[in-house]
Symmetry: D2
Subunit: 333 residues, 4 copies
Amino acid sequence: MKIGIVGLGYWGPNLVRNFSGNESVKEVIGCDLQEGRLKFIQARFPHVSLTKSFDDLLKQNCDAYVIATPVDLHYSFAKRVLESGRHVWVEKPFTANTKQAIELIELSEKKNVNIFVDHTFVYTGAVRKIKELVDGGKLGDIIYFDSVRVNLGLFQHDVNVIWDLAPHDLSIMDYVISGKKAIGVCANGIANFYNHENIAYISVYFDNNCFAHFHVNWTSPVKIRRMLIGGTKKMLMFDDMENSEKIKVYDSGIEMNNKEKINEALVQYRIGDMHSPKVNQTEALSLGVSEFIDSINKGRKPLTNAEDGLKVVKILEAAEKSIKAKGKMIEIN
Amino acid sequence: MKIGIVGLGYWGPNLVRNFSGNESVKEVIGCDLQEGRLKFIQARFPHVSLTKSFDDLLKQNCDAYVIATPVDLHYSFAKRVLESGRHVWVEKPFTANTKQAIELIELSEKKNVNIFVDHTFVYTGAVRKIKELVDGGKLGDIIYFDSVRVNLGLFQHDVNVIWDLAPHDLSIMDYVISGKKAIGVCANGIANFYNHENIAYISVYFDNNCFAHFHVNWTSPVKIRRMLIGGTKKMLMFDDMENSEKIKVYDSGIEMNNKEKINEALVQYRIGDMHSPKVNQTEALSLGVSEFIDSINKGRKPLTNAEDGLKVVKILEAAEKSIKAKGKMIEIN
Amino acid sequence: MKIGIVGLGYWGPNLVRNFSGNESVKEVIGCDLQEGRLKFIQARFPHVSLTKSFDDLLKQNCDAYVIATPVDLHYSFAKRVLESGRHVWVEKPFTANTKQAIELIELSEKKNVNIFVDHTFVYTGAVRKIKELVDGGKLGDIIYFDSVRVNLGLFQHDVNVIWDLAPHDLSIMDYVISGKKAIGVCANGIANFYNHENIAYISVYFDNNCFAHFHVNWTSPVKIRRMLIGGTKKMLMFDDMENSEKIKVYDSGIEMNNKEKINEALVQYRIGDMHSPKVNQTEALSLGVSEFIDSINKGRKPLTNAEDGLKVVKILEAAEKSIKAKGKMIEIN
Amino acid sequence: MKIGIVGLGYWGPNLVRNFSGNESVKEVIGCDLQEGRLKFIQARFPHVSLTKSFDDLLKQNCDAYVIATPVDLHYSFAKRVLESGRHVWVEKPFTANTKQAIELIELSEKKNVNIFVDHTFVYTGAVRKIKELVDGGKLGDIIYFDSVRVNLGLFQHDVNVIWDLAPHDLSIMDYVISGKKAIGVCANGIANFYNHENIAYISVYFDNNCFAHFHVNWTSPVKIRRMLIGGTKKMLMFDDMENSEKIKVYDSGIEMNNKEKINEALVQYRIGDMHSPKVNQTEALSLGVSEFIDSINKGRKPLTNAEDGLKVVKILEAAEKSIKAKGKMIEIN
């Protein structure tokens, strides 16, 4: 298989390394407009051929193309790949708006090719373990999902902190509680330095009394990447900054002795043991590459496909509208 | 000085101990309707006299009364104390609504007596140190305030999680960034178990591009009590679960090389040292008692007075309205 | 039951409070030479009668006496109590040397009264849980025990850091791996400030290829109280500075595929889940008081008795000899 | 410059990558007996030429050779390199005994070539910062050094845990407190699985009332890499498992009001602020490579040279003797 990679910025070396390392991949060709990035990749990966022209790259008849450009260019590059009848891998977030996402989905169906959206976290050992616990009923019914992803990071030119950081957490939520349906989004935040928000808080209401909340922040002195997932049976904390105990499952929960008298009775608490399951440490991107290639070979949709990408973009778009409207709820669908 | 304490529940023993331990206090009289609480206090504090009747207590001519009942009773008890011309200490939150708070303030002015609102955290060494750093200009201008107070706690019968937990954080915010004016509140949340919210998120907009956010939750598997305070010069983390390093001040921040070209230029980051100042460990409640007594003796307003209590109640009231309106912004004043 | 307490220093208020709170105890009498300590206790515990004279106290016909003086006075006070035919509770370490311990044991047997040695940690929920796990075979055979107890603490006048801090850890070890027999002790350390060591390291060799090591230090900038217990099946960490997860049991261990070829084969590791059991939070001292009183009432030896005290003193004595001999092994028995 | 690397095991890829990445290096040739390792390196570094024969490699006239074999082969390979008049880089520990180290030093002097010993930690940002603080007098006079390096790691075939793990910590100690002279070593430990110790504790006595202690363990359920360095003015903790706050300097220390009355006076404690300096994050191995090449170019000794290697080997050798003699002190020199 022959893979063309468009955009060799921050994430580029990881894409080159993981596609090169996959045994089904015979050739990797890279493409970037900046001379510096081409030199950088050449020095580290002498076996990779490189070009400055996307037109050239498209002519090389790769089996699939990877779009790793800024988000506002995803649509136009992916469209040309799809039109040429080839499979496409798009970095997160899938597109800059729902309209683009829907158009690409329709095009891929017409051309009968695959769209893979790189929701990398879905392939981490930790998130797969959480999915396994939730699907296995260990937590009971999920009642809330709370996520914090803050750090002192580089401001993005083209997007606010929501479009930069929240796709990670929204894609994890979408994967983990895939049975729940989001119905409305409220968001608040502030732009302290220029016209893009550097801090934002997003609330997502679901149709079955489930609720999710996301805190994303480029201006936190400390790096926090933590999720709380509350279930009726057990509760889980996922702390991605922890090396050895990323997931902790608490045997503690809420018990109601008498459902009829819930307004009167004191809600009882049971506090028990904590369990921290072993987490597989295979590099997520390498598993993502395998899934993409396997889905092509078998003619099936990949795990993180365009519909998943669209669901995340819908919430991002709604959050942006809500934040402009000072927290007003924006309905989804 | 003679002190009457109304309500000997969870916080009662701490109030009895600290008022008894203050050298200006000669006598403490306790009052509770429940026999069990009276016995509990008698066993631990054999020198304290006790009564089941508030009328009795009011006749005992105490110099000041402490109201430590459920919040919906604060107003009526405090009102009777003020009408009798005595000083009153009210637990947080001050009252169940702004109307009650304003009425008590007017009454106290007419009677020329003091209202102390027990915003205990204001008297902790950590919060006083934060105030000192902020007032000393160490952090620069405050641009955001982010607070998380979650745990697996006892549900309250009478109020939701906002009225139970948020007064702590709102009173800290009000004290620390006293120069900023709140203008609007948005809140979201969910009631998973009965009609009171167990999880809530509150956003507070200020008039000078400052922003605050509060996460309160009774159903978290882990106990987190953490604040991030972002300033233009430095940023601070206050982690109240830490024993020895509650406050960390980060020499890291955001520098903009060229204010004119902010939309084009990449925002630069400077990351430097971290400093954790020593924090005074005197019990906060004992300092609160001293402040209350000193304010009475000197005929001045206490540090945490009824106006501070009112400001917190205004935000609580607005948050409750907003949460019922699915996040719609409620203006303050 | 009537209890006399000799020595009302740092630990005194805890002893007074817990003996007063025990329902079998009708009266507590305290004794200290220092006027200041008597006043301190009187203010907090108005119901306790006090005396400056041990002779007076002994005449008061208490059922049992508690010796909470500096360690060099344990022997003489305990001896007079035993001679008077009363039960005695001695703070840790039991005595200043093995000779004194043996003499007190013989005297107690002659007088048919109980000696309780206050190895408080044995009564903590965490240590009892560890004992339960070890006795239940969960860890397999114990192969090592590693303990660190360091802090920036008050230097003691009368003893070095070994006699001050190590009794805690030695008594935990003795309780947890009671089936193992210590055969030799090596110790190293340094006295940086005056003639008593402020840092010390103690190695204890056991008769069955088990090994223990203790690090005690008065001059550490941070407070660490941590034990590692290695078993052939599982390994355990006990971190007493943790609030909610004091004990962690690791499903990780060492597996040897082929015992014959152990010198050639790479030792295999299996790394699995971690489990943190719930720990009972009842105050240890209150359980110790109950055990003491129950042992008296039932005419049986208490859980932490004079023989346990003697075992700890033997190791302390050997460690002190070894440290003077620059680490030379001192045999036990 | 042309570099030959002997031994392409665990550390091999890092050596190949860092030597290849240095701008003074034009060619890197690798050598290993195992076909698998050669294939592994070829796949990742297609530009590197490889050979199975050390004789071949020696004929290729490299400017310098890197010896990254098991420790028992360091001496013979390094000797042949030195005899051929070329510079040599030897992995830690330098040699298997002091005799070998001395012989190599003499040979290097005769041939006028450099020996670099890869004490990698000396080149980490954290250790360089600690050195800077100690040399700048910030900590005062160093009174103790306490190090813990434990994990659940791979057993080594050829050496015990002391030779495997302690060289890291001994080389850090030697670098940080270079002015102090070690005079004696005591060691204790246990071999639970076969004839090599898996747990060991090493005490090092210095000539000026300074003391160091090292805990190394292959059978700990948790990974701990922590050093405490106590000075008369300040104390420092270096926790290498921390991502953002590896070094913490405590403003706390010990003050003696009256040096004459030290036996009587209670030693006073002052507890103050904590400061965590920023640490440079450049990869240590890349700085080591630069230092090696610069020392060759300038005809000077490298920072971590054969004398430093010898000092570490002396302590390792003494520790091994002491552990066989159950803790008996072994004098150095």
